[in-house]
């Protein structure tokens, strides 16, 4: 898959969609986050990043090791927990509160951001948020909140999930998130041989196909 093909797919993904990206590889979600940032810049769309527990710091550091320098200073960031600020942090929510309180704070900040225009919304470290769930009612409160953003025309949202971590949680959010998402994408492969497949997509021509995106090529985009 070339950069042009991928950007074309994102172009055709309508605002309001929720794209779930399940990553099983070493650097898949780090690179994917960077690709969406690049896409937004090239298309002149604003960027909003949800950063749970310093995942954006991890993305930034690991990109540096791969030879990519980016400070994400043009991205609006809502931080949940953590203490390493990357990007333009406009909201900060502690994690130790009740999900209901947490979510009302989050929704307040997010809706304010979305009232200012259209965004590419990148969600990082969501599985860490789900690690804190103890009860089904907490779990479904969070799921329900995510569902509430579905169809929000101010954003095209990309939720990155580390499959390895998420599927070992007491409340594995993947099945519910797959249900809500309009597009489900898998990143698999070993040793830099990334392969992208679609589990669910409005574009039926992509179903059942496997797209190879080697790390080496990606780094040259």
């Amino acid at each position: 898959m070339t950069k042009e093909m991928l950007f074309d797919v994102i172009d055709r993904t309508p605002f309001g969609d929720l794209v779930l990206i399940e990553d099983e590889t070493s650097y898949g979600s780090v690179i994917a986050a960077y690709v969406f940032v690049r896409y937004a810049r090239e298309r002149g769309i604003k960027i909003m990043i949800d950063d749970v527990l310093d995942t954006l710091f991890l993305v930034k550091k690991q990109l540096e090791f791969l030879g990519v320098q980016d400070d994400f200073s043009d991205a609006v960031v809502i931080k949940t927990g953590g203490k390493m600020d990357i990007g333009k942090v406009i909201g900060r929510i502690p994690l130790e509160t009740e999900p209901v309180i947490y979510l009302s704070r989050y929704e307040g900040i997010a809706n304010e951001v979305f009232s200012e225009g259209k965004y590419i919304n990148i969600v990082l470290g969501l599985e860490k948020l789900f690690a804190f769930m103890h009860e089904p009612v907490e779990f479904y409160t969070v799921i329900n909140s995510i569902q509430g953003f579905l169809g929000n025309r101010s954003r095209k949202a990309f939720y990155m999930i580390n499959k390895n971590i998420a599927s070992n949680l007491k409340f594995n959010p993947i099945p519910e998130l797959e249900e809500i998402a309009t597009t489900v994408t898998y990143i698999r492969g070993e040793y830099g041989e990334g392969k992208v497949t679609f589990g669910k997509t409005p574009f039926i021509e992509f179903l059942g196909k496997e797209f190879e995106i080697p790390l080496e090529k990606l780094l040259q985009w």
Binding site: S26, Y27, K61, Q62, L95, E96, I165, E190, Y191, L215
Partner: protein
């Protein structure tokens, strides 16, 4: 089969600032790796800092003695957390408390004081799985993960975290999935009777990805 210098050339490719996770299966691999990295530090004129959690270095030293290698780790700067058997040049001791926020602060304070004039180092971390075994909640767990993550990109060191895969995956808060994400390089080490087979599962150098090296115990003077 590799000569020691060939292995060192691969360790050169690990960049300063990286955190390397070495997951091993029950074996002599921690001994082989610790000694190998100690020799690497000497060969490259780098300080070697060993984080010795709960007397892990003592076990390694004794095991080496059984195979005829007398190594007192006198050239290694040792940071001890817990335990009471001093091995190597113990430069600082971190009081272990089960509250991670406090422990992490103690650790950062102690290591900052001890290593302010160390320029470049190889950092070997032993017994991290035991620290994780004291974790009793998700927020404590992530306090540790985030603290470890914050050392990424700290260019004065190349850190190697040696973790026993069986032990780590059997503790209530298994740290391996998060550590594999945080680490910039992940190496899986599998033993055979006479050698260790090291596979680069994750790497920041494309030419190391998937690379498999076999290191015979003999290269470090093991008969």
């Amino acid at each position: 089969m590799e000569a020691l210098e060939d292995v060192f050339t691969l360790v050169d490719k690990v960049k300063f600032g990286e955190s390397v996770l070495i997951e091993y299966h029950r074996s002599f691999i921690p001994e082989l790796t610790t000694l190998g990295l100690l020799y690497y530090g000497k060969a490259r004129r780098l300080s070697v800092i060993i984080d010795d959690n709960f007397d892990s270095l003592h076990v390694i030293q004794k095991h080496l003695e059984f195979v005829g290698i007398d190594e007192d780790f006198g050239d290694a700067l040792v940071v001890k957390t817990g335990g009471k058997r001093n091995v190597g040049n113990v430069v600082t001791r971190v009081k272990f408390v089960s509250e991670p926020a406090i422990y992490i602060r103690n650790y950062e304070k102690a290591s900052k004081a001890a290593f302010s004039n160390v320029e470049k180092s190889i950092n070997i971390v032993l017994g991290l799985e035991r620290l994780f075994s004291f974790v009793s909640s998700v927020s404590e767990f992530y306090a540790f993960v985030i603290a470890l993550q914050s050392f990424l990109g700290e260019k004065r060191r190349k850190a190697f975290y040696l973790i026993n895969k069986e032990i780590a995956s059997s503790i209530p808060f298994n740290p391996l999935p998060e550590l594999e994400r945080v680490a910039s390089t992940v190496i899986e080490a599998v033993p055979t009777p006479t050698r260790g087979i090291f596979t680069f599962k994750k790497s920041t150098s494309l030419d190391l990805l998937g690379k498999k090296i076999e290191i015979p115990t003999g290269v470090i003077g093991w008969k």
